[in-house]
């Protein structure tokens, strides 16, 4: 049931992240979630055919590798025992290995077994042992969980996700098993807003939100088509051609992470973010926290000395767009309201 459907088919390299033409907002926001995972994920809503899933899959290949405990199903961080699973925490000696950052696809029709985990049938049948077989949440620990068409996800899975996202761990109490394991991941969702709304609780879970649109000029299209065509004819060669770009970007992300630790957020920036959120009446503190984190990650990624109002201004829209209260009588879009508030509050 958990077999990989690509069995027997040669895996081709994914389309390189750097080779994606346009979609600057989405690309930048994805990068920022990698610079600071605490930003809390990204929601990309837009029309079909805008290449949302291509970008996310390309992003997976871009991420710099990490160290993980060898053989641990949750790929715990050997350097951070407090966030490790029970098993890793109680072991004295841990062997570690370098792994790709997991980017796990949560398909729409996934069963709860598949997502949360289940009793390991193999072990149970052949040896009569009750062992937990980790699911997608375990796989995504320390990485990214990608849900395409997140607005069509079934309610019971949404509940499960909300629960796990809030606590950072998956509590499994079924079939006579009681398991608790870390499940900290960056949630990436995408979908077409025409097809349905997201539950507000889930919406709030996403740190950033981007409206994805296809460019409508011939030049951009030609570039997109040429690159895609070139990739599809010879994925390996195309991938090689872009390796340098990919490496550069990867190095910048790593440098951004280092810089993030020493990045200070001046009081005036904190205040501006708070005033902005108050002016827009966003629910809860999450919006304000996200702006600050995103602005800080942006400053770090762009090698700025300190966070300024300019970063706040740039990150306000993606941080707040999805947090405004809806007023059915008010036709004004979120973006316009936020831009207006930026002007009023920041005078920019």
């Amino acid at each position: 049931m958990h077999n990989n459907r690509a069995i027997g088919k040669v895996k081709r390299p994914v389309f390189p992240f750097s080779a994606i033409a346009g979609q600057q907002d989405l690309k930048l926001c994805l990068i920022l979630t990698a610079v600071d995972p605490l930003i809390g994920g990204l929601l990309a809503m837009g029309d079909r055919g805008t290449g949302k899933s291509t970008i996310v899959r390309a992003f997976a290949a871009l991420l710099p590798p990490v160290r993980a405990v060898k053989g641990c199903p949750y790929h715990c961080d050997p350097a951070s025992p407090q966030s490790a699973c029970d098993n890793c925490r109680s072991s004295d000696v841990l062997k570690s290995e370098t792994i790709q950052v997991p980017v796990v696809d949560l398909p729409l029709g996934a069963t709860e077994d598949r997502v949360a985990g289940a009793l390991d049938l193999e072990r149970a049948l052949s040896r009569g042992e009750k062992v937990f077989e980790p699911g997608l949440l375990a796989k995504a620990n320390r990485g990214f969980l990608y849900i395409d068409e997140v607005n069509l996800l079934e309610d019971h899975l949404v509940d499960l996700l909300l629960d796990v996202a809030a606590s950072g761990e998956n509590l499994f109490e079924r079939e006579g098993l009681s398991v608790r394991h870390p499940a900290r991941f960056v949630l990436i969702g995408s979908g077409n807003p025409e097809e349905g709304e997201l539950r507000p609780q889930l919406l709030d879970r996403f740190g950033l939100s981007v409206d994805v649109k296809t460019p409508q000029d011939v030049a951009s299209w030609v570039e997109i088509v040429k690159r895609r065509d070139s990739y599809e004819r010879d994925p390996e060669r195309f991938y090689d051609q872009w390796q340098d770009e990919e490496k550069k970007l990867r190095v910048r992300i790593v440098a951004g992470r280092t810089k993030l630790k020493e990045m200070v957020v001046p009081d005036e920036v904190q205040e501006a973010a708070a005033t902005l959120c108050i002016a827009l009446k966003t629910d809860g503190l999450r919006g304000q926290l996200t702006i600050i984190r995103a602005a800080r990650a942006l400053a770090a990624f762009e090698k700025k000395k300190t966070v300024t109002l300019a970063e706040v201004k740039r990150m306000a829209l993606p941080s707040l767009r999805h947090r405004l209260r809806r007023n059915p009588m008010d036709e004004t879009g979120s973006s316009v309201r936020i831009e207006r508030a930026i002007q009023d509050v920041l005078g920019l």
């Binding site: 077999n3 690509a6 055919g49 049938l121 009569g128 025409e194 539950r199 088509v225």
Partner: protein, 553 residues
């Protein structure tokens, strides 16, 4: 096969045979499906047929019960997507969302060539947009000739992998944008199709006619309008009953000069394949036919498993009328195996009645609020604004409850479905934005439309609630004539239909004074009558919300 005048369907067969999974697939109209199957089989061998009622496990693989029981350890089946790189899906419009998503991903990975057979007659049902977007072709005609496997083998060899001349890409992009195609993906497909056409023709490089043909095969059926960028956004001034003559249209086109002259050959090829209706729509400046159709389909597609969602499993000693949850059963049997084997001997898996588990399903009927709004006469403006507000208020709450909203407006001579059942606030806003008011009251037509919608909702397993905002004073007949007596007779007849189907209905009387006519209508409809003079959107939303809650419980 040398005849150059072969039909589009024949070309599509050839292209799919040459490219295989690397070119996605095709949507085939139900009535030409058999013919297409023969042609495709001749060109590239038999293709695995599946029914659209298949489930996710069939695609991804699941536990093989017989083998598992025999061997005493789980044996998995491979799943259709792993075993086959070409699938033929019957009645593809019925595919559930989860299966469609899996197939879409396989198409993205170039791991699947999909032939989706669908009934293209009905406006409502079509193949999921996420699939049709990934499949370059649409076939509605017969394949008149057959490619042999030798033809295909030769073409595969001839298939060029060189860079395509940039001017073709420029021109294809140009044309695609000018006819309102939303995604560059279509052009990527067209470029591949052009390579394939050239290969099938035995050419070394892509020539103009290959590009034109590829444009027609891939782009034409996605066209939203003819290249008239100036008219695209303007609301039409012409009543739709009088489409301007063709000559006007070509004149307008010449004036607009939307595309460079050298891309005209693609455009000409595309025009020859455009559906007739589109030409008229384009001429009238309404370029959104295809878009709205797609959206409609997207919103009406039923997410998988809504009718009853699995919330776990339970023990069941008898299986009457229930489906065994095989995995859960095996899991519950598993821990006992060493013991049972000791007692019974042998190595077989032993499952007893105690182990049986069946899926626990939580029934939740999806409720759909259908607003039928009287947009006639002088008070229309006020009523409409409030009704619109109420629709949006209800809709804004829908994400929590997963209910849907639809809206019918009736005014002047006829009734119109402004908003097919949807859960999307964005769509609702757009649909409701340009709603005009005024004119007579075709009450019977309004009720008819609402009735049709309610039937549709019920047919697809939902629970409809009809909310009529009116004063009950119909004065226009179904035929669109002003005749009070006949209008009353007809609206009473329409109301009786509701009673006969026992649809839940509310009549909200929004006139300044409660009207007898509205009460009378409510009685005939067996509907709840609520006089609400000067009601605000929130007032109207309140009883609707309660009714929805009751309907979906």
């Amino acid at each position: 096969m040398t005849d150059p005048d072969i039909t589009d369907a024949t070309w599509v067969v050839g292209l799919l045979a040459v490219w295989g999974p690397k070119l996605g697939g095709v949507v085939v109209a139900q009535d030409v499906a058999d013919d297409f199957n023969i042609a495709l089989t001749k060109a590239s061998g038999a293709i695995r047929t599946v029914s659209s009622s298949l489930n996710v496990e069939a695609l991804t693989g699941t536990i093989d019960l017989a083998a598992t029981l025999a061997l005493g350890k789980p044996v998995l089946t491979a799943g259709l997507l792993a075993e086959h790189s070409r699938l033929w899906v019957r009645r593809a419009e019925r595919l559930d969302t989860a299966c469609a998503s899996l197939m879409a991903q396989a198409l993205d990975d170039h791991a699947l060539m999909l032939v989706a057979v669908a009934d293209l007659q009905g406006e409502e049902d079509s193949v999921a947009p996420k699939l049709s977007e990934r499949m370059p072709f649409l076939v509605e005609t017969l394949a008149d000739q057959y490619w042999t496997s030798e033809d295909i083998a030769l073409a595969k060899k001839a298939l060029s992998h060189d860079d395509v001349d940039p001017k073709w890409v420029d021109q294809l992009c140009d044309v695609a944008l000018s006819i309102g195609i939303a995604s560059p993906r279509a052009v990527v497909q067209a470029v591949k199709a052009a390579r394939g056409v050239a290969a099938l023709k035995g050419l070394q490089t892509i020539d103009e006619s290959s590009v034109a043909l590829a444009g027609r095969l891939v782009l034409a059926h996605r066209a939203q309008h003819l290249p008239q960028p100036d008219q695209q956004e303007e609301p039409t001034q012409n009543p739709p009953e009088q489409p301007p003559e063709t000559s006007d249209m070509t004149d307008a086109q010449k004036d607009a000069e939307p595309t460079p002259a050298d891309a005209d050959f693609i455009l000409e090829a595309i025009k020859s394949a455009l559906p007739e209706g589109l030409l008229q729509f384009a001429a009238g400046g309404l370029g959104q036919r295809g878009v709205s159709r797609n959206i409609k389909n997207a919103a009406q597609r039923k997410p998988g498993g809504l009718r009853g969602r699995r919330i776990g499993n339970k023990r069941a000693s008898s299986l009457a009328g229930q489906r065994l949850d095989i995995l859960a059963t095996l899991r519950s049997a598993a821990p006992w195996q060493p013991l049972r084997r000791k007692l019974a001997g042998g190595m077989r898996m032993i499952v007893t009645r105690d182990d049986f588990r069946v899926a626990r399903i939580k029934q939740r009927t999806e409720a759909t609020a259908i607003f039928a709004v009287d947009a006639s006469g002088s008070t229309a403006f006020q009523r409409l604004a409030e009704a619109k507000g109420a629709v949006e208020t209800i809709l804004a709450e829908c994400y929590v409850r997963r209910d849907k909203v639809a809206m019918v407006a009736f005014r002047n001579r006829k009734a119109e479905v402004l908003l097919p059942p949807t859960r999307s606030l964005e769509r609702a806003k757009r649909a409701l934005a340009g709603l005009p008011g005024g004119g007579g009251t075709p009450l019977a037509s309004g009720l008819d439309e609402a009735f049709e919608l309610a039937l549709q909702v019920r047919r697809s397993g939902g629970n409809p609630i009809v909310i009529v905002l009116t004063d009950g004073k119909g004065n226009v007949t179904r035929a669109g004539e002003g005749n009070k007596a006949k209008a009353l007779e007809e609206s009473q007849a329409a109301a009786k239909m509701f009673a006969a189907e026992s649809f839940d209905a509310l009549i909200i009387d929004v006139s300044p004074e409660p009207q007898k006519s509205a009460k009378f209508l409510a009685n005939t409809m067996k509907a709840t009558y609520l006089p609400m003079p000067r009601a605000s959107a929130t007032d109207i939303a309140r009883p609707v919300r309660l009714a929805l809650k009751a309907a979906s419980a």
